[in-house]
C-alpha cells in the first residue's frame, strides 16, 4: 500500500506540491486527474526520486517502508515503477539488453536469481505478444525511432516484465490513438490483482473508460481537492476542472 502524508516538494525553490495526502491500498487502481501545472508529473517524479525535486515535508511509504530516503534504483527494487510520460531514448543501447539488464537488476534487488539470455528472450516474447509488439522492437535501440505509441507500449512491456507492486502511469494515454490506447489499457488491466496497485495520472477521462479506477482524485495547485469513485471522472469530463475548483 502506498501512503502519502502531508507531502510538500519544490523545484528550484518554487513549491509545487503543497501537502498531498493519499492512500492507495494494495490491489487498487487510483486515478489522479488535474489540469496542466497542477503538480501531477511532479508527484510522480518525487515518488520515484528524480533529481531536482526537493521534498520539503511530509512522508511517503510503500508497504510501510519510507521510500523518500531511498535512491531511485532502490525504490525500483522495492517495487515502484514509473511509466514515463516521455520515454527516454538511449541510442546504441539495444532494447533487449536494456530490458534484461533492468529485469536482472530488479531481480537481484529482490534476492532472486538472474535470467540468462535464453530464459529472458522466452519471457520477453510472451509478454510482447500480449502487447501486440513486433519482435524487431527488441533489436532496436531503446525508444530510438519509436513512434509515440511504440514508446508507450515499450513502457508497458517493461512493467509487464518487472512486475512491480506499485505502478505510476504518467499520462500514458497522451499521444495514443484508440487502438494503441486499448492495447496499453489491456496491458495494465492484465496486471491487476491482489498484489498490484497503480496510480494512473491522466488529463482526460478517456483512459479511465478502459482502465476503470477504484478511486479518482483531483489534484489542483499542489493539493488533492476532491476524491470519489469512478463517476467523478465523468463529472469532470462534463463540467470541467473549473467547477471542482469553485466547489473547493
Amino acid at each position: 500500500m502506498l501512503r502519502i502524508e502531508g507531502l510538500t516538494a519544490e523545484i528550484d525553490g518554487k513549491e509545487i506540491l503543497k501537502g498531498i495526502d493519499l492512500e492507495v491500498p494494495t490491489g487498487e487502481v487510483h486515478a489522479i486527474m488535474g489540469p496542466n501545472g497542477s503538480g501531477k508529473s511532479t508527484l510522480s517524479y518525487v515518488l520515484s526520486g528524480r533529481e531536482g525535486y526537493e521534498v520539503t515535508g511530509g512522508s511517503a511509504t510503500l508497504d510501510g517502508v519510507d521510500i523518500l530516503a531511498m535512491e531511485p534504483e532502490e525504490r525500483a527494487a522495492a517495487g515502484l515503477f514509473l511509466a514515463f510520460q516521455y520515454p527516454v531514448e538511449l541510442p546504441g543501447v539495444g532494447n533487449v539488453t536494456f530490458l534484461r539488464t533492468a529485469l536482472n537488476a530488479i531481480r537481484k534487488g529482490r534476492g532472486e536469481s538472474e535470467l540468462d539470455a535464453m530464459q529472458f528472450l522466452k519471457l520477453a516474447r510472451e509478454r510482447m505478444k500480449a502487447l501486440s509488439m513486433p519482435e524487431d522492437m527488441l533489436k532496436r535501440g531503446v525508444n530510438v525511432g519509436f513512434s509515440g505509441g511504440e514508446k508507450k507500449r515499450n513502457e508497458i512491456l517493461q512493467m509487464a516484465l518487472l512486475q512491480p507492486s506499485m505502478a505510476i502511469l504518467d499520462e500514458t494515454d497522451s499521444g495514443l490513438d484508440i487502438d494503441a490506447l486499448k492495447i496499453v489499457s489491456d496491458g495494465v488491466n492484465a496486471m491487476r490483482g491482489p498484489n498490484f496497485s497503480a496510480l494512473v495520472i491522466t488529463h482526460y477521462q478517456r483512459l479511465l473508460d478502459y482502465i476503470v479506477p477504484d478511486r479518482v482524485h483531483v489534484l489542483m495547485q499542489g493539493r488533492i481537492v476532491k476524491s470519489g469513485g469512478p463517476e467523478l471522472a465523468q463529472e469532470l469530463e462534463a463540467q470541467g476542472y473549473g467547477a471542482v475548483q469553485n466547489a473547493a
Binding site: R50, P72, A76, E89, L90, P91, T97, A105, G141, L162
Partner: protein, 498 residues
C-alpha cells in the same frame, strides 16, 4: 665511460660462457647504465646478438633522433622528459613480489573481480610470486603470457601455426631465425626518422612481436601478444612487425583489459603492418595501462606510432582500439592505401577520466585508385579528462574515385572535462568523395534517471549509456575482447558521475 665498458665486458663474458643457458635466466644481472648514447645502442644490439646491419640500422635511427625535437603539437601537457635519466636496457625489478593476493592492493583486486578475472590470473597480473606456473583453466585465450611457460600449451599452438607456415615469435627471435624477412620489411612503413618517438624506438627497441602469414593462408586463430613466449612484460620500447602475404588473413590482439602493473613511465612503441594483394590484417588493441591516481599523479605516457601499408590491390587493414588507460595517449594508427581498391579502417574508443589526456586519431593516405577508408571515433571525457580526435585524410591526385567517411562523436560527462576534434582533409582528386560527421553530446540527466528508475545503479546506467555510444566500435572487436571491453568502459568511468 667506464661503466659502459664494464657492462660491455660483462656482456661479453656472459655471451661467451653462460649465454647458452638462455637469456632469461641471466637477465637479473644485466642492465645498462642510465642515459642514451651510441654505446648504449651498441650494448643493446650486442646483448641481443644482432647482425651488423641491424646495429647500423639502430645507429642511423639514433643519429636521426639526436637531431629531432620532441613533438609538442598534441593537445597534451606534461613536464619535460629527461631522456638521459632512464635505463634503456634494464633487468626487471628484483623487488620481491607479493606472496599472496592478501598483500595486493585491494583496489586492484576489486577491479579484477569486476572484470570477472579468475583468481589464478589475478595472481599473475598482480605479480604474486610463484603464480603462473600452472596454466589457468577454462578460459581461452588466457590473457597472460607467463601462463605459457607451460611447455605443452606453447607447443600445441606453435605446432598448429607451424603447420600453416605461419611465423609468430618475438622480434628478437625473428632477427635470428628469419633475418631476411625482418630486413626486408623493418622500417619500411615507419622509417627510423619518421618522428621523434619512432626514432627513439628504432634505436633502442628491445623486443616485440613478429608475424608472417604466408600466401593464401587464413590464420586459424586470433594471435595475441599473450601467446608469445618470452614476453614477460610489455616492453617499454616495443616493436611489432606484421606481414600478411598475398591472399592471407590475420587478426591480431594487443593488450589486456586488466590493469597491468608497469614500472616504466614512458612507452614509445612502433607497430608496422604490411598487407599484400588481397590480404587482410585486423589489429585490435585494448589499452588499459595505469592512468595515474585520481589527482593525476603518476601514470604511463603512451607515445605510439602505428602504421599499416596496404601495398597490394584489394588489401585491407583495420585498426580497432579501446583506449582507457595511460595518463597521456599520443597515438594515430594510420593506413597508407597504395594498392588499388585497398581499404583502411579505424575504429576507436578513447576514454579520459580524472586527469587523463588523450590526443588520438588516424591518418588515411589515399594513393591508389578507388581506395576506401572509414573512420569512426568515439571520445568520452569525464572528470578533468581532455580528449582530442586528430585525424588526417589525404587524397592524392591518382586516387581516382577514392572514398572516405569519417564520424567523430564526443560524449561529455560532467562539466570539467573537454572534447576537441581536429580533422584535416586534403583532397587533390576531383573524383574523390570525402564525408565528415561530428557530434558532441552529454549523458542527459533524464537518461540516467530513466535507467535508475528501472533498477540500474548510477554506475550501471553510465556504463550502459556509454556502451551504447560506443557500439559501432565495440562490435568490431573480436568476441572475447568485446565482452571484457564493455565491462572495462564501465569500470573506467566509475565515480565520474554524481
Amino acid at each position: 665511460m667506464p661503466a659502459v665498458t664494464e657492462t660491455i665486458e660483462t656482456v661479453q663474458s656472459v655471451t661467451e660462457s653462460t649465454y647458452k643457458w638462455g637469456f632469461e635466466t641471466d637477465i637479473e644481472m644485466e642492465f645498462a647504465p642510465k642515459g642514451l648514447n651510441e654505446d648504449i645502442v651498441r650494448f643493446i644490439s650486442a646483448k641481443k646478438n644482432e647482425p651488423e646491419w641491424l646495429l647500423e640500422w639502430r645507429l642511423r635511427a639514433f643519429s636521426a633522433w639526436k637531431a629531432m625535437v620532441e613533438p609538442r603539437w598534441a593537445a597534451v601537457k606534461y613536464p619535460p622528459i629527461d631522456y638521459q635519466d632512464a635505463h634503456y636496457y634494464a633487468a626487471p625489478k628484483t623487488k620481491v613480489g607479493p606472496k599472496s593476493l592478501d598483500e595486493v592492493d585491494p583496489e586492484l583486486l576489486k577491479t579484477y573481480a569486476k572484470l570477472g578475472i579468475p583468481l589464478r590470473e589475478q595472481e599473475i597480473l598482480a605479480g604474486v610470486e610463484g603464480a603462473g606456473s600452472v596454466p589457468a583453466e577454462g578460459r581461452m585465450p588466457v590473457a597472460v603470457d607467463a601462463v605459457f611457460d607451460s611447455v605443452s600449451v606453447a607447443t600445441s599452438y606453435k605446432e598448429r601455426l607451424g603447420k600453416e607456415g605461419i611465423i609468430f615469435c618475438s622480434i628478437s627471435e625473428a632477427v635470428q631465425e628469419h633475418p631476411e624477412l625482418v630486413r626486408k620489411y623493418l622500417g619500411t612503413v615507419v622509417p627510423q626518422g619518421d618522428n621523434f618517438f619512432a626514432a627513439l624506438n628504432s634505436a633502442v627497441f628491445t623486443d616485440g612481436s613478429f608475424v608472417y602469414i604466408p600466401k593464401g593462408v587464413r590464420c586459424p586463430m586470433e594471435l595475441s601478444t599473450y601467446f608469445r613466449i618470452n614476453a614477460k612484460s610489455t616492453g617499454q620500447f616495443e616493436r611489432t612487425l606484421i606481414i600478411a602475404d598475398a591472399g592471407s588473413h590475420v587478426s591480431y590482439l594487443e593488450g589486456c583489459t586488466a590493469p597491468m602493473r608497469d614500472e616504466n613511465q614512458l612507452h614509445a612503441a612502433v607497430v608496422e603492418l604490411v598487407a599484400m594483394d588481397d590480404a587482410t590484417i585486423k589489429y585490435s588493441t585494448v589499452q588499459n595501462w595505469y592512468p595515474g591516481d585520481a589527482e593525476g599523479k603518476g601514470g604511463i605516457y603512451n607515445f605510439v606510432t602505428k602504421r599499416g601499408a596496404c601495398r597490394g590491390a584489394r588489401s585491407k587493414i583495420s585498426w580497432t582500439q579501446v583506449e582507457t588507460g595511460s595518463a597521456i595517449t599520443w597515438k594515430y594508427p594510420s593506413c597508407i592505401l597504395q594498392g588499388e581498391d585497398s581499404v583502411g579502417e579505424f575504429y576507436s574508443v578513447a576514454i579520459t577520466n580524472n586527469y587523463q589526456q588523450a590526443d588520438t586519431g588516424t591518418k588515411m593516405f589515399h594513393i591508389g585508385p578507388r581506395t576506401k577508408s572509414t573512420i569512426v571515433s568515439k571520445g568520452i571525457s569525464a572528470g578533468h579528462g581532455q580528449n582530442t580526435y586528430r585525424g588526417l585524410v589525404r587524397i592524392g591526385a591518382k586516387a581516382k574515385g577514392a572514398r572516405n567517411f569519417t564520424q567523430c562523436d564526443s560524449l561529455l560527462i560532467g562539466d570539467l572535462c573537454g572534447a576537441h576534434t581536429v580533422p584535416y582533409i586534403e583532397n587533390r582528386c576531383v573524383s574523390a568523395k570525402v564525408e565528415h560527421e561530428a557530434t558532441t553530446s552529454r549523458i542527459a540527466e533524464d537518461q540516467l534517471f530513466y535507467c535508475r528508475q528501472r533498477g540500474l545503479t548510477q554506475e550501471e546506467a553510465v556504463g550502459l549509456i556509454v556502451n551504447g555510444f560506443c557500439r559501432e566500435v565495440l562490435k568490431e572487436l573480436p568476441m572475447e575482447f568485446a565482452v571484457e571491453a564493455q565491462k572495462l568502459l564501465q569500470i573506467s568511468l566509475e565515480g565520474s558521475v554524481g
